[in-house]
């Protein structure tokens, strides 16, 4: 597929990453082996909640090959406690104090209590078995709603409450304003034709990447610390290590390996394990590596969703949605992860609750409870998988009550024109929701489906159709990211031209499979009129890249490539300024074309220079320069959008339900997407496929289960079930794009929030199929067992 540079933007270019990845020559963290490297294993709590009476490490230390064993107390005076500002949001909350290892008390099953370092990783596991911890088991706090009641045992005793965070997201900042708003909302409910009221429960699940976490730290007294971390945020991790270990800034370099086996938010927090390994490497002056086992991973990270939303929706009988009122309770888990603390996800989930619909008013409140479970950690569809499920289901319930097609009711209530500010004060910058919706409906012949459905029902078969949609963040503007995570939202990129006409791009974010090398190269190639193969993209190394807040929140297509484009623009300016001078013409950048490896003066096409020569002249031969110009071609650009930006998508799902067993089959999944200008359609398609299947897998199969003692029962892939290829349908992606007016190329950041509309669409389809039984499902996971139970209840057999 030889795309010319001009149509590079939008080309289905095979990825630059793939040659190494299909031949097994990628370099993931676990593939980096340093001479003399030691291996770390964490001893983890067997209890959800227990006092540590003592830890005996003597037998472990005595084992041949063991170099060190640390316990919590070793860190108490040598490492600063969390929280520290660099990883603490500007949101008022009860931030728990903690160190890398548990001290005095363990607060969730799987919490690290000791760290064993050995010369061989098998021996490290042997030694970890020999560490004896004397526990006194305490009553665990496991139910978030009960955790908020008076008299509940406390997870963090010093906090005096299990409520880590609470917020009213509507009405204003003062309690009076919020009450006035609540009263107004109440009046709307009083006068409404229809009120739908339901408790929506979404279980604990998330997006477990295939590559678990890992850290490799190397220390020497001259250069300090080099830390390779599986991370989406190397620059934030670096600052955290500097602040917490009190190491001078020039002595810390963090490298996110070029190849990372997925992140999806799970690799975005600052984790206590990173700190412990860095500490050990410094103490031992040897490289120390920790590779997380799947057990540890499923035990500690990737757990998200887990909310109850008491949602009420007021509507008119013609289907117009009027107001929403929600009381959310999220199960935060223990909260001991930097940056997110468990509650930042439900916070954003509450913000995103109103979705793409126009509401006259809303009263949205959230309480987040600390429990003796692993901390919630971010997962794609950050915080709003549960709130989106609730709202999308509630909309269908309204449609059923007023006797309208759910799709028609949705269209009627979609925000008709943008920009728009939601009742939770979320800004929707641009796009055309109606066009996206109409494109979706054009893919589905609804009257024909209804006819087929009726015929099937007559024959005892139950088909259903379900819809859902989602407004998703396209990057996170500083305006939101500074309060939410205490970090800037801008994108940063350094573009360095090479005398041989090649381009090196450096970015501080750290992708994990999204194809940034390729999309970035396509952007650069299209702007300079060269081939994507002429562009090399480096990410994730704090030693060589400009500051970036990380690969989070769909920042690449929105903020990063925009910074790349702006840097390229600056360099094109300089190249053409100097070229105009050399050609002795009065011209500026708009009078030149960068095409097919040449820079051509549009006023006289014979006046041209190869891109390579033009670049080499400026870098290598900076004589006879225009007044005030110096040589060299490198530029770092920072891109900040004036306002937050969004993308939008809609889903349609068709299912068939077996009413004897509750088994259901997805017969079709079709979507409509506004992703702005597309850089590489293959990659965008792939993002959507993956996100939708993640949504399905979360909704149908995956669940983190804690028993009544707080033991985590689902810490291996036999029990935590991911969808296999045979469990999910083919996915049809269609587009109705609107270029984003706020980015230089019209691109939008995509993919992050994409799973969130999936569970609603799926459950709506199942409930549509079961409409003759009057079944409305308000909980996940949606499994045959649940559908069957609902059918039994509906038939009066339950």
């Amino acid at each position: 597929m030889a795309a010319t540079p001009q149509d590079m933007l939008g080309a289905r270019l095979p990825r630059k990453e793939d040659l190494r990845l299909v031949t097994g020559t990628g370099k993931y963290l676990a593939d980096i082996l340093l001479p003399g490297m030691l291996h770390a294993v964490f001893v983890r709590s067997e209890y959800a909640h227990a006092r540590i009476r003592g830890i005996d490490t003597s037998e472990a230390l005595a084992l041949h090959g063991v170099v060190a064993v640390y316990t919590g107390i070793d860190f108490k005076d040598t490492v600063k406690p969390m929280p520290q500002p660099v990883v603490q949001p500007n949101l008022p909350a009860r931030y728990p104090t903690f160190w890398p290892l548990a001290i005095d008390k363990v607060k969730h099953h799987g919490e690290p209590v000791a760290l064993v370092i050995a010369r061989d990783k098998y021996v490290a596991v042997d030694a970890a078995e020999l560490v004896v911890v004397d526990y006194e088991e305490l009553t665990p706090v496991l139910d978030p709603e009960r955790a908020l009641e008076d008299g509940s045992p406390l997870v963090h005793e010093e906090d005096g409450s299990n409520e880590i965070f609470a917020m009213t997201l509507t009405g204003g900042l003062t309690e009076e304003e919020q009450q006035r708003n609540a009263d107004a909302v109440e009046r709307i409910f009083q006068g409404a034709d229809i009120v739908v009221k339901e408790r929506f429960r979404v279980h604990r699940t998330g997006i477990t990447p295939m590559e678990p976490r890992g850290v490799l730290c190397d220390w020497n007294d001259a250069d300090g610390l080099t830390a390779w971390i599986t991370t989406q945020r190397p620059h934030i991790d670096r600052l955290a290590l500097i602040d917490l270990l009190d190491i001078p800034g020039e002595q810390v370099r963090v490298i996110a390996p070029r190849d990372q086996g997925g992140g999806f938010g799970v690799k975005a927090p600052f984790y206590r394990e990173n700190l412990a390994i860095a500490y050990a490497a410094r103490a031992l002056k040897r490289p120390v590596r920790w590779i997380e086992s799947r057990y540890e991973s499923l035990m500690n990270v990737g757990q998200e969703r887990d909310q109850v939303n008491y949602l009420e929706v007021a509507a008119r009988k013609d289907g117009k949605l009027l107001a929403l009122r929600n009381r959310g309770v999220a199960d935060n888990g223990v909260g001991t992860t930097g940056v997110y603390w468990g509650f930042v996800m439900p916070f954003l989930g509450a913000v995103e609750m109103p979705n793409a619909y126009t509401w006259e008013a809303g009263d949205v409140r959230l309480r987040v409870a600390t429990t003796n479970k692993a901390s919630l950690t971010p997962s794609r569809a950050f915080g709003h998988f549960p709130t989106r499920f609730a709202i999308e289901r509630a909309v269908d319930m309204v449609a059923r009550r007023v006797g309208m097609e759910p799709s028609a009711l949705r269209r009627m209530n979609l925000v008709p024109s943008l920009p728009y500010t939601s009742v939770t004060n979320e800004y929707y910058d641009s796009g055309d929701f109606l066009r996206v919706w109409d494109n979706l409906m054009a893919q589905v012949d609804l009257p024909a489906f209804r006819a087929e459905q009726a015929a099937a029902r007559a024959a005892g078969r139950y088909l259903g159709i379900g819809f859902g949609c989602g407004v998703e963040l396209s990057g996170v503007a500083s305006e939101l990211l500074v309060p939410m995570e205490n970090q800037p939202g801008y994108g940063a990129a350094t573009v360095r031209l090479d005398p041989r006409g090649k381009v090196l791009v450096f970015g501080g974010d750290a992708p994990g499979g999204q194809g940034h090398e390729t999309t970035t190269a396509q952007v650069v190639a299209s702007l300079f009129g060269i081939q994507a193969s002429d562009v090399v993209v480096t990410t994730g190394d704090t030693g060589t890249t400009p500051f970036g807040s990380g690969s989070i929140g769909a920042r690449a297509g929105s903020y990063f490539v925009s910074a790349v484009a702006e840097a390229c623009g600056e360099l094109k300016d300089k190249i053409t300024r100097i070229l105009a001078h050399d050609l002795q013409i009065e011209a500026s950048v708009q009078h030149f074309e960068f095409k097919n490896g040449e820079v051509v003066y549009l006023g006289d096409r014979s006046k041209r220079k190869s891109f390579r020569d033009a670049v080499e002249r400026i870098i290598m031969f900076p004589i006879n320069m225009p007044e005030g110009e110096v040589g060299g071609l490198e530029y770092t650009a920072f891109f900040e959008a004036a306002k937050p930006m969004i993308c939008f998508n809609a889903d349609c799902c068709i299912v068939e339900v077996n009413v004897d067993t509750g088994d259901f089959e997805i017969r079709r999944w079709v979507t409509s997407e506004d992703v702005g200008t597309v850089i590489n359609p293959n990659i965008v398609d792939g993002q959507m496929h993956g996100a939708i299947v993640q949504g399905l897998s979360n909704a149908m199969f995956e669940e983190f289960v804690y028993d009544e003692r707080g033991q985590q029962m689902s810490a291996d892939f036999e029990h935590y079930k991911l969808a296999t290829a045979a469990d999910v349908p083919d996915i049809e992606i269609t587009y109705a794009t609107t270029p984003c007016p706020h980015t230089p190329l019209g691109t939008r950041g995509i993919g992050e929030g994409r799973p969130s509309s999936v569970p609603g669409a799926l459950t709506n389809a199942v409930c549509d199929a079961l409409a003759p039984f009057g079944i409305e499902i308000a909980e996940l996971p949606l499994r045959p067992n649940l559908v069957w139970r609902k059918l039994r209840e509906a038939r009066g057999e339950g």
Binding site: R15, L21, V22, T23, G26, A30, G512, D716, T724, A725
Partner: protein, 157 residues
């Protein structure tokens, strides 16, 4: 310590190994063939470590290195010759991988699968993939690439 003699990607090795050393660790850490990945604790479900043992797809995390004595092993590094196999090429062309962590295991399994079933249906491909978890792609492009590779390997356009 036992000595294993085996062929990996066409090269003969004779190595002393502890009895308990997993084959996947032998390949990754002793032979530096790090294309074979580890994604499970003990359960052997994810399939990222799939290799060929005497030509058949097996999980190298569920074998000891000593068990491989006398056998012929191919890892992802040995799948291609001078050029990519049609399956590898199809994976590139159809964007069948994102993070790439599961990809070596999938390629090893599917290359064995296509040998056994050169003209598979979509359903057969999906069932053949059950032993490989992929988190990124939703499997859509993987299925497409396997189908396309099968077609090319059968000599069809």
């Amino acid at each position: 310590m036992p000595v294993v003699k085996l062929t990996v990607n066409g090269t003969r090795y004779e190595e002393e190994v502890p009895e308990r050393l997993l084959l996947v660790d032998f390949l990754r850490e002793r032979l530096a063939l790090t294309g074979t990945h580890v994604g499970c604790t003990f359960e052997g479900v994810c399939g990222a470590c799939t290799i060929h043992l005497d030509g058949e797809a097996v999980k190298s995390c569920l074998m000891l290195a000593v068990q491989a004595d006398g056998h012929e092993i191919t890892t992802i590094e040995g799948l291609a010759g001078d050029t990519l196999t049609p399956l590898q090429a199809a994976f590139r062309e159809h964007h069948s991988l994102q993070c790439g962590f599961c990809t070596p295991g999938i390629l090893m399994n599917m290359s064995d699968f296509l040998r056994e079933n050169p003209d598979p249906s979509e359903d057969e491909i999906r069932r053949g993939l059950v032993g490989n978890l992929c988190r990124c792609t939703g499997y859509v492009h993987i299925v497409r690439a396997v189908k396309d590779a099968a077609r090319r390997m059968r000599g069809e356009a």
